[in-house]
């Protein structure tokens, strides 16, 4: 396979720029389509090599296509990320100062929570404590909608979580800002926000729900992989990939 950057790479990148994030299956399909359109050799198992070529050209521009897992369904996603800035000020062309402050407070809530979620009431309450400029209730609600629309947050039944894109793109920021608070998943070693926690207080390791599903699949009695205590949580089903891929 050619190591040269070609139009198939450029087309792939353009689509990534338009979408921001795609799931693994979407990336594979796109890769195939790009190769077909430009009559370049297509090797189904060479997606990561294909992306490496792009990344070698993106690196001097402080951009990268990075892979990460969705905490929701355990699938791999590819996101185009900007590494020029490593904090939320990078969002500043889209959001005002007080909006960014609210986003930061939402992240605080999510990171300090047990289950990686923040409910809308708590977020609305924190809007009263903004130091920059207060946000009205309706403004906060509208802002939350925008943050979901722009794929920074995910919302389900009034509860907000960090989106896959946000976790992939903000990784360095989260690492610096919350280094003491944020834990990684015992299984996959990525940040763990939405997860299960070992109830042994001396252990209290975290495991993502999809990682729990995969790890305990087929084991008769679930035990913590770190302390061997009984794992008291409900073991979710392993989701079949792409059966119902979420955007």
């Amino acid at each position: 396979m050619s190591r040269q950057m070609g139009d198939s790479h450029r087309r792939f990148l353009q689509t990534m720029m338009a979408n921001g994030i795609v799931d693994e299956q979407g990336a594979k399909t796109l890769y195939q389509r790009c190769c077909e359109i430009h009559n370049t050799q297509y090797a189904p198992d060479k997606l990561d090599e294909f992306i490496d070529i792009l990344n070698s050209r993106l690196q001097p521009l402080f951009m990268q296509i990075r892979k990460g897992m969705s905490e929701e369904n355990g699938q791999q996603y590819y996101a185009l990320v900007n590494m020029a800035e490593t904090d939320v000020t990078r969002m500043s062309s889209d959001y005002a100062d007080n909006e960014l402050e609210l986003f930061q407070k939402t992240m605080d809530l999510i990171v300090s929570s047990e289950n990686g979620k923040a409910c809308s009431t708590d977020i609305l309450n924190s809007a009263d404590t903004l130091t920059t400029k207060k946000l009205k209730k309706s403004e906060t609600e509208h802002l939350l909608q925008r943050l979901v629309h722009d794929k920074w947050l995910t919302e389900k039944r009034g509860e907000y979580t960090l989106s896959t894109r946000c976790i992939i793109e903000m990784e360095p920021y989260i690492r610096t800002m919350y280094q003491d608070q944020v834990k990684v998943c015992h299984i996959c070693h990525n940040f763990a926000f939405q997860c299960q926690i070992c109830e042994n207080p001396a252990c209290s390791i975290k495991i993502h729900n999809p990682c729990v599903a995969r790890y305990f699949k087929g084991r008769s009695e679930p035990r913590c992989p770190a302390c061997d205590d009984f794992w008291p949580h409900e073991i979710p089903e392993v989701r079949r990939p792409h059966s119902h891929s979420r955007k």
Binding site: R10, M17, I37, F62, M63, N82, A84, S92, S93, D97
Partner: protein
């Protein structure tokens, strides 16, 4: 989207605005020898860094389809490197070409306004128009089709009536688009997809639509005909005038500068 402006907005605004405005107006392209001298004072890595910032800035603007003014680029990004501006732009153009398959086109040579245009073949499913994931693009495609089929210029009423038939009423707040009239006459116009101008000597004022410069460069007329053909179950050739226009050489090259 991933790219965002390096410089945060509040910082820019807080800078002494008046002085900056003056700088803008007086910015002239430095001469080749000035650039040569300027380059001797900086490292290659510094020029690359600046180029990366310019690329990011342009990509962010392009994301929202906002045309880029050279004056803004100099003021917000190039700054103290203005004496080597031509070199930085040269490298940025090369990067857009080689990495992104985009070309930076000056659509207004008097006011120095640029847009990014897709260089990948637009007939081949490259452009977002062939695969509209964004519903606004679908809306725009319909409007551009109507204008093209009606010979290049239409009164606004015709557009509004067409949209109403598609259950997009410009008088009502639309679930997906919000204020439809604003999207069409403001957003699409700012993005240079459409031109919206008053018809001379009309009282009360009446307006008409034409294709904007970005549409000329990004949208394939052959694709529109194909789409109309499918819609009406007709051969594209049956619209002979449009067919000729769509397949004339200037329409095919696409990324060449505007023909108007």
């Amino acid at each position: 989207m991933a790219q965002r402006r390096r410089q945060s907005a509040p910082q820019n605004q807080s800078q002494a605005a008046a002085q900056e405005e003056d700088d803008d107006l007086t910015f002239t392209q430095p001469s080749t020898s000035q650039v040569q001298r300027g380059l001797e004072k900086v490292t290659n890595a510094q020029v690359d860094q600046k180029t990366a910032e310019v690329v990011q800035y342009v990509l962010v603007k392009d994301q929202k389809k906002i045309p880029i003014r050279r004056a803004d680029l100099v003021k917000h990004v190039v700054k103290e490197y203005r004496n080597i501006y031509p070199e930085i732009i040269k490298r940025a153009v090369r990067t857009f070409d080689q990495v992104f398959g985009l070309s930076l086109v000056e659509i207004d040579t008097k006011n120095h306004i640029y847009i990014l245009v897709n260089k990948l073949d637009k007939e081949e499913g490259a452009s977002q128009f062939n695969n509209p994931t964004n519903p606004k693009i679908g809306l725009l495609f319909v409007i551009l089709s109507v204008i093209f089929m009606k010979g290049g210029v239409v009164r606004e009423n015709l557009i509004w009536n067409t949209l109403k038939k598609l259950r997009v009423d410009p008088g009502e707040k639309h679930e997906e688009f919000g204020d439809v009239k604003k999207v069409v006459t403001d957003e699409f116009v700012r993005q240079r997809y459409l031109e919206y101008a008053r018809i001379p000597h009309t009282e009360p004022a009446e307006y008409e639509f034409r294709w904007g410069q970005r549409a000329d460069m990004e949208v394939s007329k052959a694709k529109i005909l194909e789409f109309m053909g499918q819609l009406h179950e007709q051969e594209p050739q049956s619209w002979s005038q449009q067919y000729r226009e769509a397949h004339s050489s200037s329409a095919q090259t696409g990324t060449s500068s505007s023909q108007r």
